[in-house]
Symmetry: C2
Subunit: 148 residues, 2 copies
DNA sequence: AAAGAGCGGTTGCGGTTGCAACGGGAATAA
DNA sequence: TTATTCCCGTTGCAACCGCAACCGCTCTTT
């Protein structure tokens, strides 16, 4: 029996992820001009208030260089403000500006609406699906730790 | 209630997909030196025999330029052969070489083993999970078509 | 106190991606 | 036939990614 690419889980996951990301981007990209890394940084800042690059890197699965550059672009656009940490001068405090908070509010609405739509498409087992995604992520983390 | 990135489906999907892809790459990359686009091209060729670039592009969710470059690398490495189509001279026939078939056989084994492991980690509902992934993909395709 | 190791953020660089433009070939229309 | 339109694969280009090197700062060790 030949190998079937369409039944290969990593392949399907990847296709689903890129398609869904594209869909989401189409919903807000033109209005907001925000890229995916920038989106993650902002969403994290909206929850956490003052945060350093390292925190975001550890939390949202982005290389620290990517976080750094995303933060630079967001600062350039006036969405966030950088300031030095007073105890540890290596650290940088990132914080949303009012403008950034407004944008994040708008993005949150779009995201919530999209999420609702996806749940509708998935039907009643959407919760179950998310749980299993979580399992996959946890499994991958475990795998990486045991490999090291 | 603030927006929670971790509960946002596109985010989770993306994280899961990249982690799983990385895991899979770690299993074969060193041995085979094959990238993800190359892997998709080869897997498709293994099933379909003679195929053009356009077919692969339409089938495995890769831009035609990416398919073109992946094919060039694979040809360079001796894994596939290009030949002109005789009816339509715009088309190109791609076909695995014996060496490419051997490699694909090996990759298939690794992929099957990995797939089995993922299913084990997911438990009895793995099938259900895949079905829902399929739903997401189909939904995205539908969305794109209606948008156009 | 001084040296060394370790950490946080930035930057440089090679490779990849995605899009648009191109050139050759085929198909349709007049 | 000729001309126009469309299609296929390649290539140019700008942006992005991931990794590693680096610099300044902090902590530990002696």
């Amino acid at each position: 029996m030949p190998f079937m690419l369409d039944e290969f889980l990593p392949y399907r996951l990847n296709v689903a992820a890129t398609l869904i990301s594209r869909r989401f981007a189409a919903l807000h990209q033109e209005e907001t001009g925000i890229s995916i890394p920038e989106w993650r940084v902002m969403a994290h800042l909206a929850n956490e208030g003052q945060v350093s690059i390292r925190d975001i890197h550890a939390r949202v699965n982005l290389d620290k260089s990517i976080v750094s550059r995303a933060a630079a672009r967001l600062e350039q656009a006036g969405h966030l403000r950088k300031s030095g940490h007073m105890q540890d001068r290596r650290l940088i405090s990132l914080e949303l500006t009012p403008k950034g908070q407004d944008l994040m509010q708008r993005l949150g609405e779009i995201a919530d609406a999209f999420q609702a739509r996806l749940h509708a498409e998935l039907g009643p087992d959407a919760e179950r699906f998310e749980t299993m995604l979580e399992q996959l992520i946890a499994g991958a983390a475990r795998d990486r730790d045991t490999a090291a």
